[in-house]
């Protein structure tokens, strides 16, 4: 049995990461996630194609049947599509995180003297910036097709702020799935089968009153409904406050429930 002899440390190192350094590390890792888009333009297309496709398909295929006119439907469905896309985007976070873990990139990052939170935070910052892009695309294309913004720049920024806040809360769910799932495909299957029913059983695409009564009960509490309604109000006018508050309460709830599990998984995973 050897005994550990006290060897004087060779260099003096600060035992803590300063908040400024934490921010720097986070930004470097966010840059890393974004610069990938530069090399892989497919990713940008990937990021853009769903908004464009959904917007066109929903407006022109379902518009007439659901709302009687494509113009009216666009006004109704665009906020719903924005909300849905934001939820789906949390899949990107989960997949990216899981890929880093399975490929060993995560280990490399964790072996560096950087802020513990930076690998997670960097990715989440980057994914949210991608969300801003998708939002701009929805709005830009929507306006070309005839979507009308009545509440001005303040409304647009308010909608964006609400969406990003909710996306941040959702990323705790994404982190948990990304950390726990065995591989990328399982992440995708799990996130998809979670997001698809949640986003469709809302008032994102159809008015609540057209649904069966039992389903209406859920639709009325579904955060996607409130998020969609809040965005409708912020962009096109209408009641905002109660929907925004309920959306934020949901966001807070998601953080309260999932953050502890995610943090524990983050600490235990490795």
């Amino acid at each position: 049995m050897t005994t550990i002899t006290q060897t004087a440390p060779a260099v003096v190192v600060s035992p803590r990461v300063s908040p400024a350094a934490t921010l720097r590390h986070t930004m470097t890792l966010a840059w890393r996630s974004l610069v990938q888009v530069k090399h892989n333009p497919m990713e940008l297309i990937d990021l853009s194609i769903q908004p464009i496709m959904f917007l066109l398909l929903f407006t022109y295929v379902f518009g007439g049947a659901i709302a009687g006119s494509t113009g009216d439907y666009l006004q109704f469905a665009l906020p719903g599509l924005v909300a849905q896309n934001m939820l789906f985007a949390s899949m990107t976070t989960a997949v990216g995180l899981n890929t880093d873990i399975t490929k060993g990139v995560f280990d490399r990052l964790r072996s560096l003297p950087i802020a513990r939170s930076a690998p997670l935070a960097g990715r989440i910052v980057a994914d949210n910036l991608k969300q801003v892009w998708a939002f701009a695309l929805f709005l830009g294309l929507g306006m070309v097709l005839g979507f009308r913004v009545h509440m001005g720049v303040a409304g647009v920024l308010g909608a964006l702020a609400l969406l990003v806040t909710f996306a941040l809360a959702m990323s705790w769910v994404a982190v948990l799935v990304g950390l726990k799932a065995a591989d990328q495909e399982k992440v995708q299957v799990l996130m998809f089968s979670l997001m698809m029913p949640i986003t469709f059983t809302s008032n994102a695409f159809v008015p609540t009153k057209t649904l069966p009564t039992w389903l209406q009960k859920w639709v009325e509490v579904n955060p996607v409904s409130h998020l969609a309604d809040a965005v409708r109000g912020l962009l096109g006018g209408g009641p905002v406050a109660s929907h925004a508050i309920i959306s934020l309460l949901w966001a807070a709830g998601l953080v309260l429930v999932f953050a502890p599990f995610s943090i524990r998984a983050f600490r235990n995973r490795i």
Partner: protein, 320 residues
């Protein structure tokens, strides 16, 4: 002597499996310790604990005088880690991968670029530096991974099976790089399943099996512990293999290894060979192949663990 790495009684369990079961090891500054063992012997677990990626359940360890649990951040600023799977971001170019690490180590942008260019040059990746890492060959990726772990001038380097899956040429190239690092005075802990690799590179070797250190010493010392000779007997009729094994066991007083109709045993006293031949002759067993030769690290492994290095994972599965 100053130790760059010291560990005492390291233990880690996953459920009922003891990945590490009281491991002691030490690496003096500037030396290369080869950690040899089959798959699942606990090598990677040990590296992950020493590189602060995993908390031990028991025991303690220091790297560069810092405790790997309580002073993990300080340890991280001294070490470089190259894992079994090349941990580079495949979507980024070689250059961007290295610059990213430099930036994370708080280097100014210009310094990070300079250091990255320097390492690309050193690892013969300058031309490929502008290409995405996913276009790299296995050997190139491994070199990029190693370059990434050297950005911050680590004084202690962990190489976890750095050549697993590489072709022989890439392996030899990587060995050259490791030798250069040794010359520069970097302390290295290298895990490997390849006995030749440990033989080629390591100043000292420790052998892991089932989460325990079962032997340690220089390559020559380890070879000497087996008595230096290996007896191999292959009966002409495969059906006689068990019989041969029983005879060898009887004469040597220890069970030999039997695989693919070949009976292999470590021999300390060459005089036992005629005795074995006589017994086989009496039984009417004809040996198609019978040889006595100097042991390689392979046989050292066999003697120490009771199974061949390559069989490690299977043996463990069978035992589980």
């Amino acid at each position: 002597m100053r130790y760059a790495i010291q560990a005492e009684g390291l233990a880690k369990r996953y459920g009922d499996t003891k990945a590490l079961d009281g491991v002691d090891l030490e690496v003096p500054e500037g030396r290369l310790l080869g950690v040899l063992g089959p798959n699942g012997a606990g090598k990677t677990t040990a590296v992950r604990i020493l590189a602060t990626l995993l908390r031990p359940d028991g025991g303690r360890a220091q790297v560069g005088g810092f405790d790997v649990v309580r002073q993990a951040h300080q340890v991280r600023s001294l070490i470089g880690l190259t894992g079994q799977y090349a941990a580079v971001d495949e979507a980024l170019t070689g250059m961007e991968n290295l610059v990213m690490i430099g930036r994370l180590l708080d280097m100014p942008r210009a310094d990070a670029r300079r250091r990255a260019a320097e390492l690309l040059e050193r690892f013969d990746l300058t031309e490929a530096g502008g290409r995405a890492a996913k276009t790299y060959s296995g050997g190139m990726r491994r070199r990029l991974d190693l370059a990434a772990s050297l950005i911050g001038h680590p004084t202690v380097l962990f190489l976890d099976e750095p050549t697993t899956g590489l072709d022989p040429r890439s392996r030899t190239e990587l060995w050259g790089v490791v030798r250069d690092l040794q010359r520069e005075g970097v302390t290295v802990l290298l895990t490997t399943q390849y006995l030749e690799e440990a033989d080629q590179l390591a100043d000292d070797i420790i052998v892991f099996d089932h989460g325990k250190v079962i032997a340690s010493g220089t390559s020559d010392e380890l070879k000497a512990t087996t008595g230096g000779q290996v007896l191999e007997v292959r009966p002409a009729e495969a059906a006689h293999a068990d019989l041969v094994a029983r005879v060898v066991a009887d004469v040597l007083g220890a069970a030999p290894d039997l695989s693919g109709g070949l009976v292999t045993a470590a021999v300390r006293d060459p005089a036992v060979v005629p005795a074995i031949v006589r017994r086989l002759d009496d039984l009417g067993v004809i040996a198609a192949e019978l040889s006595l030769r100097k042991s390689s690290l392979d046989e050292v492994f066999l003697v120490l663990t009771g199974h061949r290095a390559e069989d490690g994972s299977e043996t463990e599965e069978a035992a589980a």
